[in-house]
């Protein structure tokens, strides 16, 4: 399954970000969206607003990067989109399911069946082999993995000789590739990656990012990545910039240089 989209096809997305639900929904098929999401920590004087009315659509079958300086709320936004954190106000949809109304059990199931995760570090269960880690979400769900798909994923990340190894026997890059394979293996509707290259050297990082990009281009996967690294962001189809809990800008078909310049603009 290949999407006929090329980078140039959404060059027109660059520019002021859409601000209303209608606007984002008109942009095309969405894998997830946030509508007027606010997130407030603490009360009174200690009150901190992490998200301040974020409205955002995650286009399906594309690689979206969320960027912003520290404290911009980018991780919080991702956690809210992924059903890991609750919102103070607004609505979050994955597909057409509204997350804020789900209880813990349904949220857990949603994460298990429809979402894939790649974290910055500590992505794998140390007692399981690489293969067991890859099939973990499906094993938890009690469903059989699609063997052909699984083989394809394993070959794409190039881990076949390492499947019986435990995480402690793998390099950091290999561990992140196992995490990517896990995220992909259950064919989730959307993969969330939280600084997936944050702990890797540049070569391993490039491998992981290429893999994520290829999964979008070749397998039609939807990927959302939070990062503060302009080079990592340049692998995405679309970069959304966040500052002070608000979406301030977006950039399609980014280059590292282009992202860096936008970031400089934000870092006042």
């Amino acid at each position: 399954m290949t999407f006929p989209l090329t980078t140039s096809a959404y060059r027109d997305l660059t520019g002021p970000a859409p601000t209303t639900d209608d606007e984002i929904r008109s942009a095309g098929p969405l894998a997830a969206r946030a509508v007027g999401v606010t997130k407030v920590y603490g009360t009174g004087d200690a009150r901190v607003s992490a998200l301040d009315g974020v409205t955002l659509g995650i286009p399906g079958g594309r690689f979206t990067a969320i960027m912003g300086p520290s404290g911009s709320g980018k991780s919080t936004l991702m956690h809210c989109l992924a059903g890991l954190d609750s919102v103070t106000g607004g609505e979050v949809f994955v597909g057409d399911v509204e997350l804020t109304r789900l209880d813990d059990r349904r949220l857990t199931r949603l994460r298990r069946d429809r979402i894939g995760f790649v974290f910055q570090s500590f992505n794998l269960i140390p007692t399981l082999t690489a293969l067991e880690n890859i099939t973990l979400p499906m094993d938890i769900a009690g469903v059989r993995p699609d063997q052909a798909w699984l083989d394809a994923v394993i070959d794409t990340v190039g881990l076949r000789p390492r499947l019986r190894h435990r995480p402690s026997e793998l390099s950091g890059g290999q561990q992140q590739r196992v995490a990517c394979a896990r995220a992909l293996a259950s064919k989730p509707e959307i993969i969330f990656a939280d600084e997936p290259t944050g702990n890797l050297d540049s070569r391993s990082g490039a491998e992981v990012l290429s893999f994520l990009r290829n999964s979008v281009r070749e397998m039609g996967q939807t990927v959302v990545m939070v990062t503060h690294d302009p080079v990592a962001a340049s692998y995405a189809d679309l970069v959304v910039f966040l500052a002070d809990g608000r979406i301030v800008d977006q950039l399609a078909a980014p280059t590292a240089q282009g992202v860096l310049e936008r970031m400089k603009g934000l870092d006042r």
Binding site: L84, R109, F119, P126, I140
Partner: protein, 846 residues
């Protein structure tokens, strides 16, 4: 500085250390409870017996060759002539004969009252010099009158004017209750029941007509008790002695205290086991805390703390935990002591009461033991903490280096060998104190197994986990993986359970072997069809008039009814109980098989069983130095050796010797053999009607006898197992602690599992599997060690009648299942904590 750090750490890890402290509390509470209980009971008995010394100064009684046992009831009667001699002694203000012996009241339910340890006393109603005070009615003055103590009256509901039955040497007879009296100032009897008769009736019922059990005398003004005892001693004939009332009270209290002393030692043993088990938990907790704080400790080292300071900081925490735990244990012990007293009165053995005695030594012991054990257990983790290299603070990978297990294997092997050697020495009795040797040996073996078990913790838990993984899939795989992950931790946690399980398994194997051995020998040897004996729990065996045997022999269908009893005799330097009777007549009912010698044991002759003969190096014809109850020494001859026999026991003394040296002619058992053609049920009915007048006697047939033998083994098994459950409870705390700490340690992993879709229930299940695997691993180790111990002890006791090894597979299997349940229980709280963890915070944890 280090102190402040210690205090802060204690505060920061309240919960984790709290569970550890609880392990200390349970162990020390048991020790403190036992010490407080025995201190209190000793004092209460002192007070009880001292009450007698306020009314009399000197007591005259038959010389006692042996202390303890049944001598009180079997003391040589004092002839009336001695009373006259005593009365004539200068300085005696007043003297009277005292009559005591077995007499029991028949309750409204037709059963005799009391008999669960403390004696059932019949007394002659004293005219003076007594500490009995009537609370209602009057003293008995006619042969058919009786007075009861206030406690018995209250328990039975009998009051003045009621018709009651009482049984002494002979059959039960009717009496009218004419009075109720109070014993001592407080009316406490310590569980003894009193029935007072008119003096000459008492002589007939309890002793011999015209004779007394003893004489009590009051000194004239100005004569000290010791002085008076000296003067009286000068006039009483040989075989009698005068002692001060204080001495008599001390002797009496001493007997009781000796009995209670056994009990205290017995209970203390279990306290010590609990503390030992607790030490594993302390060790494990501190190991885990130190491992989790590697970074902090390394940082301390990096900023300049010395190794000594790091060790001190950790030891300081241990001191805090030990001290708090021991103090709480001391308080809990006081509660436990009160509970023990309640337990005693629940089984019918009321103990005299007094205020709780918390002796300074009790406080010192409890605190010292609690603190010392905590410090010793925490020392190794503390030393490891001090070895943390400062660079660990900078490394991301904080996993402590995995040390080689080889050194551990060698040390564990050596320790195990040493323990085995000590055990063997103790069990074969080749020198030293066998109990201490066996105890120390078992301790070393436990330590060795605990040290060696990490070597096979991984394969065994994997093997145990395999069926779980097959059945329950990923959650089980994760649980099993967690159990295999840190073999040292799994082993130390399992070791705590292993100890309790091993001891329970040992006792089970021994009990099964004893029962099997008894069954085997009774099946082969028991010739008697029925046995009649006086009831009574663990107290002195009751005894009755031998004429009962003649009555039973007259029952139609009875071929023979042979009386027998038990008596103490000193052989060499050992004081032993011997069966007494006519060996020739007893051979049939006992099923005696002679290996050598003769059944005709004459004066100063004794028969012994083969095991005893072998142990003593005796054969038929050997001569042994002996002493009888009247104090007479003799050279006793081994007249014959019989095959080990559970009914006869190790020694069988002929009637002739008994009659010459033992004042009491009563018997404790009659063995009945029916005529081969007679109908057993009909004979039983005949025997029962013949015994109707003896509510204190029980009739048992063969299956009853076997059942009783089994039941007494079973009771002991139940009691010891119940006491060992305490150590299991402590082990459960240890599992909870380990799991809780592991959950904290694996916070991020749990967060990840939750993020990728593991439900709370699945998470709880995962932790439960880990817990069950650890528990079952510990139980398996314990049962294996227990079977080994049981086998060793059975081998050692093979010569003393336990010649069959029986491994109760069903029972041990049930224990294994119980261990799995323990695992489920232990997981409840840590699993709930894990499930409640906030996913996001768990992932974000550094």
């Amino acid at each position: 500085m280090i102190l402040r750090l210690t205090l802060k750490n204690l505060a920061a890890h309240k919960l984790r250390l709290g569970l550890t402290a609880l392990a200390v509390v349970l162990g020390t509470a048991f020790v403190a409870g036992t010490l407080i209980f025995s201190g209190t009971t000793d004092k209460a008995f002192d007070e009880l017996f001292a009450e007698g010394t306020q009314t009399v100064d000197v007591t005259v009684q038959g010389t006692r060759a042996f202390t303890g046992g049944t001598d009180d009831l079997a003391a040589k009667p004092v002839p009336a002539s001695v009373l006259d001699q005593v009365r004539r002694v200068d300085g005696v203000a007043e003297a009277r004969g005292q009559i005591t012996g077995f007499a029991a009241i028949v309750g409204r339910d037709g059963k005799i009252v009391g008999g669960n340890g403390p004696p059932q006393m019949g007394i002659g109603w004293p005219s003076s010099l007594s500490d009995y005070t009537l609370v209602s009615g009057r003293g008995p003055a006619a042969p058919d009158e009786v007075a009861l103590d206030s406690v018995t009256a209250q328990k039975t509901g009998y009051t003045t004017g009621d018709q009651v039955k009482a049984v002494a040497k002979g059959p039960a007879e009717p009496y009218e209750v004419v009075g109720v009296f109070k014993v001592g100032a407080k009316g406490q009897t310590g569980g003894v029941t009193y029935a007072a008769f008119e003096p000459s009736t008492a002589q007939r019922l309890l002793a011999e007509p015209g004779a007394f059990s003893g004489i009590v005398a009051k000194a004239a003004d100005g004569v000290s008790p010791a002085e008076l005892a000296g003067r009286v001693n000068a006039v009483v004939p040989a075989g009698f002695e005068a002692i001060t009332a204080q001495q008599a009270a001390d002797d009496a209290a001493g007997d009781v205290k000796e009995l209670l002393g056994f009990l205290s030692t017995f209970l203390l043993t279990f306290g010590v086991i609990s503390i030992f088990v607790g030490s594993f938990i302390i060790f494990n907790t501190f190991s885990m805390l130190v491992a989790q704080r590697t970074r902090d400790l390394a940082l301390l080292r990096a900023v300049g703390a010395s190794r000594r300071q790091v060790t001190l900081a950790v030891m300081g925490e241990a001191l805090g935990v030990g001290l708090l735990g021991s103090i709480a244990g001391l308080l809990a012990g006081a509660g436990l002591a009160v509970g023990l007293r309640g337990l005693f009165s629940a089984v019918g053995a009321d103990l005299p009461t007094t205020g709780l005695v918390i002796a300074p030594s009790t406080v010192v012991w409890t605190l010292t033991v609690g603190v010392a054990v905590t410090l010793v257990a925490a020392f190794f983790p503390a030393r490891r903490a001090a070895k943390t290299p400062p660079v660990a603070a900078l490394r991301d990978d904080v996993a402590p280096p995995v040390r080689s297990l080889r050194a551990r294997a060698v040390a564990g092997g050596l320790l195990g060998a040493a323990g085995g050697a000590l055990l063997a020495t103790g069990l074969t009795g080749d020198g030293g104190d066998p109990l201490a040797l066996v105890g120390a040996g078992a301790l070393l073996v436990f330590l060795a197994v605990a040290m060696l078990s990490p070597l096979f913790a991984r394969p065994v838990t994997r093997l145990l986990g395999a069926p779980l993984v097959r059945l329950f899939g990923t959650t089980a795989r994760l649980g099993s993986g967690n159990a295999q992950r840190n073999p040292r931790r799994t082993s130390a946690t399992a070791a705590a359970l292993m100890i309790g399980m091993a001891l329970i398994a040992t006792v089970s194997v021994l009990a099964a072997s004893m029962t099997a051995s008894i069954d085997k020998s009774l099946d082969g040897s028991l010739g008697a069809d029925f046995q009649v004996s006086a009831g009574g729990g663990f107290g002195p065996p009751g005894s009755f008039d031998p004429s009962v045997a003649a009555d039973l022999a007259a029952v139609p269908g009875v071929k023979s009814a042979t009386p027998m009893t038990y008596a103490q005799v000193r052989l060499g330097d050992q004081q032993v109980f011997a069966a007494v009777g006519d060996p020739a007549e007893l051979a049939g009912p006992f099923g005696l098989e002679m290996e050598s010698g003769t059944l005709a044991a004459g004066a100063d002759e004794i028969l012994v069983d083969a095991g005893t003969a072998a142990a003593g190096g005796w054969t038929t014809g050997s001569a042994v130095r002996a002493q009888y109850a009247d104090g007479a020494f003799a050279t006793i001859r081994i007249a014959g050796v019989y095959a080990d026999n559970p009914m006869a026991g190790p020694y069988l003394l002929g009637e002739a010797t008994h009659a010459a040296h033992y004042p009491d002619s009563r018997v404790s058992t009659v063995l009945v053999v029916k005529a081969p053609a007679a109908d057993a049920a009909a004979v039983r009915r005949g025997l029962e009607s013949s015994l109707a007048a003896y509510p204190n006697l029980t009739l048992q047939d063969r299956s009853d006898i076997k059942e009783q033998a089994r039941a007494s083994v079973g009771q002991l098994l139940t009691m010891i197992t119940a006491l060992l459950v305490l150590s299991i409870v402590i082990a459960i705390l240890g599992i909870i602690n380990t799991l809780a700490l592991s959950v904290i340690e694996r916070t991020r992993e749990i967060g990840l599992l939750r993020a990728v879709g593991m439900g709370r229930r699945q998470l709880r299940r995962m932790i439960r599997y880990e817990s069950v695997l650890i528990s079952v691993f510990g139980a398996l180790l314990g049962i294996a060690v227990g079977i080994g111990f049981g086998w060793a002890v059975q081998r050692a006791l093979a010569g003393q009648g336990i010649d069959v090894l029986a491994v109760p597979a069903g029972r041990l299997g049930a224990y294994l299942a119980a261990a799995a349940l323990v695992g489920v229980l232990a997981a409840v709280w840590p699993a709930r904590r894990a499930a409640r963890m906030d996913v996001l915070r768990a992932i974000a944890t550094q």
